[in-house]
């Protein structure tokens, strides 16, 4: 049951950079990567949206250009996780959702680094499933758990609805995600390797992090996550405003200058 997906082959970052042209340091335009990857970030709304965004040229549309990926080298995997993140934080009348905000790109970079490899966490065995009060006890590092989770999202989707996760409508996707959240989904591995709710928990928190982290980390594009929430980001001080009797509206500011609007050309 614990078979790995087709991504078994060792991933070489250098090869990937060469292929995509990221290493040239230039602007990664939608045309270049869009053409190469054939990926659209809005899932089933299709290439139309991507095209419209490019034409409209608005802030968020700019942000929707693909900044390149360092972890997800399989487009279908990235599509699956992107859609799952969108269900966690969907686009609606409050404002943009996880995909438009670039949260999947945030996750992509995190999984390639310290976070994905649990570098600062205790990963020595032996591993036992443990009680909920004892916290994460999985043998898998986050990068491995996300890969497995994506594989199992599709497996569950096929079992329940006879199609891949990304081809389902939102309600059916929610049903699958709920099965993970409630520990009912089959992760295909023993409990001491990982639990489905572990995967869901990480997916949920990574989505929120990708929506609200500083744009430095490639999510929260155009600081639109912050704008929705009225969070002004990095401000040096509030000493002259903190005694105000009413809510003070402040234009948000990213950590580094004004260029980190998340569209990859800062």
């Amino acid at each position: 049951m614990a078979e790995k997906g087709p991504d078994e082959k060792q991933f070489s970052r250098r090869d990937f950079l060469k292929t995509t042209g990221v290493a040239t340091g230039g602007i990664i335009g939608g045309s270049l990567l869009g053409g190469f990857v054939g990926f659209n970030m809005n899932g089933d709304s299709g290439g139309d949206t991507a095209q419209n965004d490019q034409e409209s040229g608005g802030d968020i549309a700019q942000g929707q250009q693909d900044p390149g990926r360092v972890f997800f080298h399989n487009d279908a995997e990235f599509e699956t996780i992107s859609q799952a993140m969108e269900r966690i934080f969907p686009e609606d009348d409050m404002g943009p959702g996880a995909i438009t905000l670039g949260a999947p790109y945030f996750l992509d970079m995190q999984l390639a680094g310290q976070y994905g490899n649990n570098t600062r966490e205790y990963m020595q065995g032996p591993f036992y499933a443990g009680e909920t009060t004892q916290g994460y006890q999985a043998r898998l590092r986050r990068a491995e758990l996300f890969r497995l989770g994506i594989e199992r999202l599709n497996a569950e989707a096929n079992e329940q609805f006879d199609d891949d996760f990304s081809n389902l409508d939102g309600e059916d996707q929610d049903e699958i995600l709920t099965r993970f959240q409630e520990g009912e989904a089959d992760l295909g591995v023993p409990e001491d390797t990982a639990k489905p709710e572990d995967f869901f928990g990480l997916l949920r928190s990574a989505t929120i992090e990708g929506v609200y982290a500083d744009p430095l980390y490639r999510g929260n594009r155009g600081m639109e996550g912050w704008k929705m929430k009225n969070f002004p980001g990095h401000q040096y001080q509030y000493i002259d405003r903190i005694q105000s009797d009413s809510m003070v509206e402040i234009d948000p500011q990213p950590l580094f200058g004004g260029d980190h609007n998340g569209n990859g050309n800062g």
Binding site: I88, N118, T133, G135, Y212, I242, Q243
Partner: protein, 576 residues
């Protein structure tokens, strides 16, 4: 073979608040001091890009690297203890300054009642109230508030604490060194509501200074800019009192203090022929792996609760506590805290993103024995407070209890409530129970091959009752503040190591006046080894309804005086 270094007068294991205080005082008194710090050097200049919630608050950049060392945890003895694989319930410090770098700065003195809790409870309610038969092990600290007051005063002056007189706290010999912080609309609402209800609100004593201050050591602490990035962050202005801006530079300026970073102490060394002394410590250079021996006339353990315990245990100093027989003192009296609060939902939007770690108002009407416990099934209580620490968007997603935790409804609720909810919370005391203790794990080891510390802990019946009581009282305040809707915290059940609660772990190496029930005397001098001192929140006999740092600081000044006196006269300090 380990390299033997030149002998020094004093070695401190760890250079945070307590190590810094002991080092500064001992070095000022002319003693040669070496501070061994397992982490790296750091200071204000390292915090220039600190306004990064993700890096610092979510991924814990400043905290202990638990890939190298963590602890194992279980709720009770019949469970298998498993490693805390990532930080959660509490955030352990590492690097120069320790957890004193990323604290909020809420600087409360414990109450006179705290130090004499057993005597005062017996006197007012009779000994039945102590519930010895239910396994509670309430005991006095072997020191009174009045004896400790001068050291509280000294710590507050060193840190430049901003505050105002608290009518429900112990008497003060001096006013706070700096005036209270600014009062904001949120704080004013709390002040009015709690005054209406007959309580005594005061501005929270703060180590985020209301104005620039030069402390008695000649160190300058800057004025707080209310940027909203205190907890889990360092201060880019040097406006939050921390060891790096106060006691460490003061110690260095004497010329008698050397900090050795990347130096992880793994053992306290003893002499086979003399079981009344220790001879120094053995440490590992964390970068090269080389081993060193640092001989010293006095050894002071200044690391965190768990590591102070661990060094004594692995060095076989003192007797491990056994929960079956209740013999042994090392590892007993481990305590944590409980939080009972309520959240109010308002139409009005507030500047919740502005703030400072200790910007708040509070009252002590339900703390300690400031209220009648005759008809209550718990002792002690908690400090009730509202704080405006600067809410940040990743961590702050307040939703009503019936809202799903993801999806459109979650998104709407969490966004709307970000600036429209206020929380009042009681920080509740926790009392020792015979089943809650620290031990060594027999399965998992750290990066140096040494067993991990094992924690066995669960909330007690008293904790459950006190939490519920404080939550209900908090709800009354929130309602009086004019909330449309008040959501009271759910009752607690089993303690979980996963969600953040507080870094206020206490006990394990407790102080006292009886070697049968404590590890050190009230000078923090080890009962078995005259030249070994152990100080920190591990010295607390129980945990109070306050943040611990002022009491830790006071004990460190007490310890420093003991170290200096011992260096001059030797012998047992309690016999004078």
């Amino acid at each position: 073979m380990a390299t033997e270094m030149d002998r020094v007068d004093v070695v401190t294991v760890g250079v945070g608040w307590t190590g810094g205080i002991v080092a500064a005082e001992a070095a000022k008194a002319g003693l040669q001091v070496v501070g061994l710090e397992r982490g790296r050097e750091r200071g204000t200049e390292d915090y220039q890009h600190i306004h990064d919630e993700y890096k610092y608050a979510i991924r814990y950049e400043l905290m202990q690297d638990v890939s190298k060392e963590t602890l194992t945890f279980r709720n009770s003895r019949d469970q298998r203890a498993l490693p805390m694989r990532q930080l959660g319930s509490f955030l352990l410090g590492e690097n120069l300054g320790g957890a004193g770098t990323h604290w909020n700065g809420q600087t409360w003195r414990f109450l006179p009642y705290d130090f004499e809790i057993r005597s005062m409870t017996e006197e007012r309610y009779g000994s039945e109230k102590l519930r010895d038969d239910d396994g509670y092990r309430v005991q006095d600290w072997g020191i009174t508030y009045d004896e400790l007051e001068p050291y509280f005063d000294q710590f507050e002056k060193t840190a430049g604490i901003s505050g105002e007189e608290n009518p429900l706290s112990g008497p003060r010999s001096n006013p706070y060194p700096t005036p209270p912080m600014m009062k904001t609309r949120i704080l004013e609402m709390f002040e009015e509501a709690s005054s209406n209800l007959g309580y005594d609100p005061i501005m929270m004593p703060s180590a985020n200074l209301s104005e620039q201050f030069e402390n008695p050591d000649g160190q300058t602490i800057a004025a707080c800019q209310y940027c909203g990035f205190c907890e889990r962050f360092g201060c880019e202005y040097g406006a939050k009192s921390s060891p790096e801006v106060t006691v460490i530079p003061a110690a260095r300026e004497t010329g008698n203090f050397e900090v050795r970073t990347h130096s992880n102490v793994v053992e306290i060394l003893t002499d086979e022929d003399d079981d009344s002394q220790v001879t120094g410590v053995r440490y590992v250079d964390t970068r090269t792996g080389e081993e060193f021996i640092q001989p010293a006339d006095v050894v002071v353990l200044n690391s965190y609760v768990f590591n102070n315990y661990k060094l004594l245990r692995v060095s076989d100093i003192g007797q491990q506590y056994d929960p079956e027989t209740e013999e042994g003192t090392l590892g007993r009296n481990y305590c944590y805290q409980i939080f009972g609060g309520a959240t109010g939902y308002f139409d009005e939007q507030f500047n919740t993103f502005m703030g400072a770690g200790a910007l708040g108002m509070a009252f002590d009407n339900y703390n300690g024995d400031n209220f009648d416990h005759s008809d209550l099934d718990f002792l002690h209580g908690g400090n009730m407070a509202i704080t405006q620490t600067g809410n940040r968007p990743i961590a702050t997603n307040t939703i009503r209890p019936d809202t799903p935790s993801w999806g459109s409804e979650f998104k709407k609720e969490s966004i709307e409530n970000y600036t429209r909810t206020l929380r009042v919370q009681g920080q509740g005391a926790s009392l020792p129970h015979k089943d809650n203790y620290i031990d060594l794990d027999d399965e998992y080891t750290d990066a140096y091959g040494i067993p991990l510390v094992q924690l066995t802990y669960n909330f007690t019946d008293q904790d459950v009752s006190a939490q519920k009581y404080l939550a209900e009282k908090a709800a009354e305040v929130v309602e009086e503040m004019g909330a449309n809707e008040v959501v009271v915290d759910a009752e607690i059940s089993d303690y979980s190591i996963v969600p953040y609660q507080s870094t206020h772990n206490t006990g394990g190496t407790v102080m006292g006046d009886d070697p049968e029930t404590s590890v050190t005397n009230n000078w923090l001098q080890h009962w078995d080894r005259d030249n070994l001192f152990v100080v920190g929140a591990g010295s607390f006999v129980h945990n109070s309804g306050y943040n611990p740092t002022a009491t830790v600081g006071a004990l460190a000044y007490r310890c420093a005086e003991g170290v200096i006196r011992f260096a001059e006269e030797g012998g047992r300090l309690e016999e004078e």
